[in-house]
Symmetry: C2
Subunit: 189 residues, 2 copies
Amino acid sequence: MLARREPVTLRALVEGTGASTMAVYTHFGGMPGLWRAVRQEGFTRLAARLSTVPAGSDPVQDLAALGAAYVANALAGPALYRAMFDAAADLEDPGAAEAPFRTLVASAARARDGGRFAGESDPEAVATRIWAAGHGLAMLVLTGALPVEALDAHAPAMVTALCVAAGDREERAARSVRAGWAAARPLGA
Amino acid sequence: MLARREPVTLRALVEGTGASTMAVYTHFGGMPGLWRAVRQEGFTRLAARLSTVPAGSDPVQDLAALGAAYVANALAGPALYRAMFDAAADLEDPGAAEAPFRTLVASAARARDGGRFAGESDPEAVATRIWAAGHGLAMLVLTGALPVEALDAHAPAMVTALCVAAGDREERAARSVRAGWAAARPLGA
DNA sequence: CGCTATACATAGCAGCGTCATGCATCGATG
DNA sequence: CATCGATGCATGACGCTGCTATGTATAGCG
């Protein structure tokens, strides 16, 4: 129903299933509980998608690939992605939003340990900033404030800028990000 | 009602005003029209707030100050800010979202023309990226995915990184952003 | 002064989430 | 094997939502 942009109503949900609305109350405790489960599922799928991005020898390229996969996930299920962030802190498992984030942190840490980023660069901070950049860009596109082309136009540049700020050399970061972004481009073709 | 986190319902809206629900239909055409007007008002207020940031001699400092004012506006009225981006493209005046954006573009253009940014740097692109960074950070905080401290911790760093990528020298950008951010800090004190 | 068009109060409708009630069904217990 | 308690859920109803058909004032204009 989310994918078809239909309004998600309790009655429409159970129609055709042979079940009644009470089943939803038994299993989810009500509509807010159902949405909580939906958000949970959204973060689970996001984590799954990010985990398909292989960790290669170039951690900066991996960061860009993770960013591309993240944005691609948002674009593939816009309604689900927006629902996830209606109340990102209210999940069945409160730590579920952490899993996708950890993937980013891990790559940032590898970049630092491998000498690409400065020794004093904080992997959590770098990951948070890349997350915020991707989320902001994705949200602006999903809400219609920016055209979809903005993703390809700005996301790689933002990731590059953040990696350079973390200590990578400009030319090298640009090359790695280009490669990583191309490997998991959000827009097909 | 938005500020008090009360659910915005037609009946609660007219209660106590002496008017009936029909008045809303006369003036706004229904609930979606009312929300459209609310979003419009949100963008108008945002533009007003950004216009209070004076254009000083340091355009990079101005960019940071605009970013701080933008985030402060979001934090001052979280519900309004979120409502604005429920459908940022559906406004009474479709160009209303452009006004705040233009303020950013103007500062980026001044930075380029004044030699702070590279001659080939695109002010619209720089402004879009700063916007996306601020929006992403603000949204993650408003939805509870990040703590409020994340704003001070990451927003200045992101703006700096984007300005450096646009051509500014690292140390100089950092100093300007620090000054601009402090001038219009989102979190009081 | 009278006519028309606009503004809105009233009352009611369909659809929503929710829950009290009651009926099955299943697993444990004697 | 029979019985009893607990669980799962279908039924129906309740209050609230946005919406609108109807009727009535009121304001503006010839």
